[in-house]
């Protein structure tokens, strides 16, 4: 493990295995707990369905309402840009698809490398902008906790190291590829214990919201 190739083989072998184990175990504990605890039984007569409004709200709450946009346009626009950029980079870069094939056994079509490259560059800039905004905004600065900065760091590092690896800006290549995979391992380990869990829970929460309103027969 002391040399670049040994390091690469460790991070993409035992390192990734441990990270995936912690990620899957931690996330399943949380999600199963959330579902099993559920909500109090509602004895009131339902005035509408739960499933339809639940799924509808997953979509509608994903788009900021005009009031939110007017109050915080930067959050909405830059937030959307980097989230979409992150997903494109993660899911549509062909070497990443090969990684998913290796782990999950399924694959899908990818995008040409230059497209993913451009998206990555935009995503990196957008993430840097969010950090600058957080550090300068008088309110955000005060309400930010160490966890916020930790989450920003573990999200940013895979993009940065991936960009450096793709453009082969660090030699030898096994070192930077290893650092890239290590940063992803770190992301996976931190995931279940921080607000990164919103990747799953945000949609569950939106569904619950929609379902509650749907049952009451009102728009959410």
């Amino acid at each position: 493990m002391s040399d670049p190739m040994g390091f690469l083989l460790w991070v993409k072998g035992p390192g990734l295995n441990w990270a995936l184990a912690i990620f899957a175990l931690g996330m399943l504990v949380r999600i199963v707990e959330i579902f099993m605890l559920g909500r109090k039984t509602n004895y009131a007569e339902p005035k509408g369905g739960e499933w339809g409004p639940g799924f509808k709200t997953i979509l509608t709450r994903s788009v900021a309402d005009p009031g939110t946009f007017a109050r915080a346009p930067f959050n909405v626009v830059v937030g959307w840009i980097w989230h979409i950029g992150f997903l494109i980079t993660l899911l549509l870069f062909i070497p990443h698809i090969e990684l998913f094939r290796g782990v999950l056994g399924i694959a899908w079509p990818g995008l040409p490398n230059p497209v993913v490259d451009a998206v990555t560059a935009i995503t990196i800039l957008a993430l840097v902008a969010t950090l600058v905004h957080r550090l300068q905004h008088p309110v955000k600065k005060r309400i930010s906790t160490p966890e916020d900065y930790l989450v920003w760091t573990v999200t940013f590092l895979p993009l940065l190291t991936g960009y450096l690896a793709y453009h082969r800006l660090v030699n030898p290549y096994p070192l930077i590829l290893g650092l890239h995979i290590l940063s992803v391992n770190l992301f996976l380990v931190v995931f279940p214990f921080t607000k990164l869990t919103h990747v799953f829970t945000a949609f569950i929460a939106r569904w619950y919201n929609g379902a509650i309103f749907g049952r009451k027969g009102v728009e959410s």
Partner: protein, 365 residues
Amino acid sequence: MAARKTLGESLREHGVSRRGFLKFCAATASMMALPPSMGPVIAAALEKARRPSVIWLSFQECTGCTESLTRSHSPTVEDLIFDVISLDYHHTLQVAAGAQAEAAREQAMKENHGEYLLVVDGSLPGPNMNPGYSTIAGISNYEMLKEAVAGAKAIVAVGTCAAFGGLPAAAPNPTGAVSVLDIVKDKPVINVPGCPPVPMVITGVLAQYLVFGKLPELDEYHRPKAFFGQSIHDRCYRRPFYDKGLFAESFDDEGARKGWCLYRLGCKGPSTYNACATMRWNSGTSWPVESGHPCLGCSEPKFWDAGGFYVPLSAPLGSPGSTLLAAGVTGAVVGGVAAALAKKRATTAAAEREPVTVEELEQKL
């Protein structure tokens, strides 16, 4: 025995023309990434160089490295430069056998003590392993290496086995195989890995040593930067297809026929540093990627244990799918038990709730 003739004299005896010799020197200069003006300097240095004694030890190896060397398509100057170094001991290539061969080795070591170049191919069982795993004339590889290293000026570890342990050291490494560099700490060691190495790289390293009288600039794996300074990927003629995102997905699809990038078929070119893409094989005819096969990464450490040859570089090692499943199931069970316990606690608390009235409380107070 190291003859006292200079290389120039020896080459003329072998009928190598001045023109042919200068062409070789120019090629050597370009191989070593030196300016063309270095060609005549190399020629002058080689002309005057004494034939150095070379002792070649073969340990746990397959003779592929020697096979590679002998494929240096004669008659070229690469072949001849090997004629004109004094190769005093080489199992495969020497005529002598048995006691005579060993006597030749001992004599060369004695006569050229402190001066000879030691070339090693193959890994060797580690010092704490059973020496019987690999012996020559009843001498363990470890003992023979120690003895030969003592009088060597420099050591060239040829092939991935000598440089990094190679196949014998692959998991579970039954003979406890180690590389030359694992043993030799007090002498200069040049690694020329590859399974096998490009022949011109072997001769190039020796030529550089003859010309400059010193070791070439090495990378952190002790590989000469002149040949191992760039990755296969960076010099690959299929690189534009990678950059465009055009990949062959099987060995017989349209992409393969059109010569697209072999990344998805397991090419290890991005992480492999070697000269195949520029120097090519068999008299510059072709090289693995050009023939349609992904690079195996044979000049890198642990290449046998680095996952399947046909598994893409970005794919994980081991079986992460089952790890994910096992950890997920465990997590679900743990989460389920935790939630059930919490629910039970809530139900018990509700059942055991003892309501008190205000009057009762006031009485207690």
